[in-house]
């Protein structure tokens, strides 16, 4: 009974509060899967939050909760945010999907922005994502050229479309410049576990990889690569400090312009649910400065590839591409549809390992 009264009171104050408080700052809440100090994925979102805070000044109030697990924890944190008058909630991880939609159903006046998700059950849930596969294509191109052992190690987190897409994109572009290239992939089933990622990197190096790619959030693999004298790519943030020699480049996430645009819409009262999938063209991702050890011609090629993707002249998934089992996927010149990419659950032809279920 008590709880119901509380909820009603909160809902009333929300409904009444909105028009009356034009001068009050808009409140934006962020929930993160990892610590803001991961120097990777979560750090990227928090960098954007701070940039946005600076942009809006007193007109915006932001709050964060880090290290929030998927499920009941996330639901509790988001409900708490909604009850304390937050206008827009950014849930910055794939796995929050079900929780975002549960809470969004309960608080129809709060705007929800879910990163990299696919579930949109309510009109107040927006999805946003970056076309990381565009950056992965550039990494693959560089890795294929730079490897001497023709073995590239890949530390992957969970077998979800975003990660599988990245592996395929990197492989296709490494293979294009180096037909002998071979990918060794380790799944950690975790986004953030420095010790496990370090062990995975060591295992890959031991098994002959001289370039390490990662789709996990910690900086451990870059550090291990530096110590072992091999090459690596950072993830989500520029990780060059952790491996000045090893770090070739990184896909750096820049969510700030998008965050500013969306919060502005909340302030103006024009916010509407949407599905945004932005890439190199929108500046939502960019490549960290090339390492000097990358030969100049290759740097120029990489620059050209970035430009071609950004201008829309080239799509990283352009046929002919076969599935791993040899069946055709894209015909000559055919470009992958977004819907196909967002549900990708297969490796492309040439990758020898099996995809976990």
């Amino acid at each position: 009974m008590k709880r119901r009264t509380l909820l009603t009171a909160a809902a009333l104050s929300l409904a009444l509060g909105a028009p009356a408080s034009a001068d009050d700052p808009v409140k934006a809440g962020f929930i993160y899967i990892g610590p803001v100090g991961d120097f990777g994925w979560t750090a990227g979102h928090d960098r954007a939050r701070r940039e946005m805070q600076e942009h809006f000044g007193d007109a915006l109030e932001t709050s964060i909760v880090e290290n929030v697990d998927y499920g009941a924890d996330a639901e509790r944190v988001m409900s708490q945010m909604a009850l304390s008058g937050t206008d827009v909630i950014f849930a910055a991880s794939f796995g929050y999907g079900p929780d975002v939609n549960t809470v969004a159903g309960r608080f129809p006046d709060v705007a929800f922005q879910h990163a990299t998700g696919y579930i949109q059950d309510h009109p107040n849930v927006s999805l946003y994502d970056a076309r990381f596969y565009e950056g992965r294509a550039v990494l693959g191109h560089i890795a294929g050229n730079m490897t001497e052992t023709n073995t590239i190690g890949y530390i992957a987190s969970f077998p979800i479309p975003a990660v599988i897409m990245g592996i395929n994109s990197a492989y296709l572009h490494a293979k294009a410049v180096n037909p002998d290239v071979n990918f060794r992939i380790i799944w950690t089933f975790s986004w953030f576990d420095p010790a496990l990622e370090a062990d995975a990197a060591e295992t890959l190096i031991e098994q002959g990889a001289d370039v390490i790619m990662q789709h996990t959030d910690s900086t451990a693999a870059v550090r291990v690569a530096e110590d072992a004298g091999v090459m690596a790519f950072g993830q989500a943030s520029n990780m060059v400090d952790f491996g000045p020699n090893a770090h070739l480049t990184a896909i750096v996430d820049r969510w700030a312009p998008y965050y500013i645009e969306r919060v502005q819409a909340v302030m103006d009262g024009t916010w509407e649910a949407e599905t945004a999938w932005l890439g190199l063209a929108d500046g939502i991702i960019e490549m960290a400065p090339w390492n000097d050890r990358i030969p100049e011609e290759l740097q120029a090629e990489a620059d050209a590839l970035v430009a071609a993707i950004a201008s829309g002249e080239y799509h990283p998934f352009t046929g002919p591409i076969n599935r791993q089992d040899g069946t055709p996927w894209l015909a000559e010149g055919e470009v992958a549809q977004d819907s196909e990419l967002l549900t990708m659950d297969f490796y492309v032809e040439g990758i020898t390992q099996d995809l976990p279920n």
């Binding site: 295992t203 098994q207 550090r223 976990p356």
Partner: protein
């Protein structure tokens, strides 16, 4: 299938490294539980050890001093637990959980200026001709000193618990604190010392992660290692050598699955990672059925608060 690319010697070597941090924390917690105290704050003490060890190692440019600092850091945090549970008579479980949360937060604060810093290297121990032995040299005799110290510590704890008078007093306190008290032993003093030992060991385990295995400071970097250590103690049914076997088994599962994956063998990673916890749950289930309790060796007064007036 390219199993040929897996080098068994390297696998064994990696297993020992992967097992060391959890073994350090587990052997400390084993002594704590043997004295009748359940400290669920292992994770918090580990991460505090990881950060204090890192900060001190960086500032003194010595990994060894860092490890000493980590042990002290873990011990200081464990004293807080001792104060709560032994002096203020609070609930062990709640205090331990609070210790973990506190440790995670405090470590993030302490480590703020140290993200991206490279710690001083811990040199590999030079074992001369031993390291030259084919296979065994690479697998067993090419590690840093902490790997061997940890094994020595396990031997020491075993010796202490089973062959020394002090060890027997500690066990008596853990088995039946009222009887031990009646015999004139200082239950709280023994338990406080055990808690401090556990804190120091957990701190060392954390520092092994931040100074050797990863090696860098990252917030929240222990990611559950402390909980694995707690599970290990139960898994080992409170016997030091079994704890070591369990830690190596656990490390082995982790390292083996990584190697098999990299070699392209299709394995159910989720189930493999789950297996140590499943075994622990089974052990716990057996313990809770009264009859088997004795055979599993659980300390009689474990998690029972002691007050002289009882």
């Amino acid at each position: 299938m390219i199993l040929g690319s897996i080098n068994p010697a390297v696998l064994l070597a990696a297993l020992m490294v992967a097992a060391t941090p959890i073994l350090l924390a587990a052997i400390g917690e084993l002594v704590v539980e043997k004295s009748g105290v359940l400290n669920l704050g292992v994770e918090g003490m580990m991460i505090i050890g990881a950060v204090t060890g890192f900060v001190i190692a960086v500032n003194t440019s010595s990994a060894l001093v860092g490890f000493i600092g980590a042990a002290l850091g873990g011990m200081v945090l464990s004293l807080l637990f001792a104060l709560l549970t032994q002096v203020l008579m609070t609930n062990h479980v709640a205090s331990g959980l609070a210790l973990t949360l506190f440790g995670l937060g405090l470590s993030a604060l302490i480590g703020q200026g140290y993200v991206g810093v490279t710690p001083p290297r811990t040199p590999k121990l030079d074992l001369g001709w031993l390291s030259e032995i084919p296979f065994l040299g690479r697998a067993l005799f090419s590690h840093d000193i902490m790997v061997y110290l940890t094994i020595a510590l396990v031997a020491g704890v075993w010796l202490f618990l089973s062959h020394t008078r002090a060890g027997m007093i500690l066990r008596a306190v853990g088995e039946n604190h009222d009887a031990a008290h009646a015999l004139g032993y200082h239950v709280k003093r023994v338990r406080t010392l055990a808690i401090m030992f556990g804190g120091a060991c957990a701190g060392l385990g954390g520092a092994y992660l931040s100074l050797i295995r990863v090696p860098q400071w990252t917030e929240g970097m222990t990611v559950g290692a402390g909980w694995i250590a707690l599970a290990l103690v139960v898994f080992a049914s409170w016997r030091p050598w079994r704890a070591m076997a369990g830690a190596y088994l656990f490390g082995g599962v982790v390292v083996l699955q990584l190697n098999l994956q990299a070699a392209g063998v299709r394995i159910p990673v989720e189930y493999l990672s789950m297996s140590p916890y499943l075994i622990t749950i089974m052990v716990l289930a057996i313990i809770s059925s009264g009859k088997a309790r004795g055979s599993l060796n659980a300390p009689g007064s474990l998690n029972r608060p002691f007050h002289a007036s009882n």
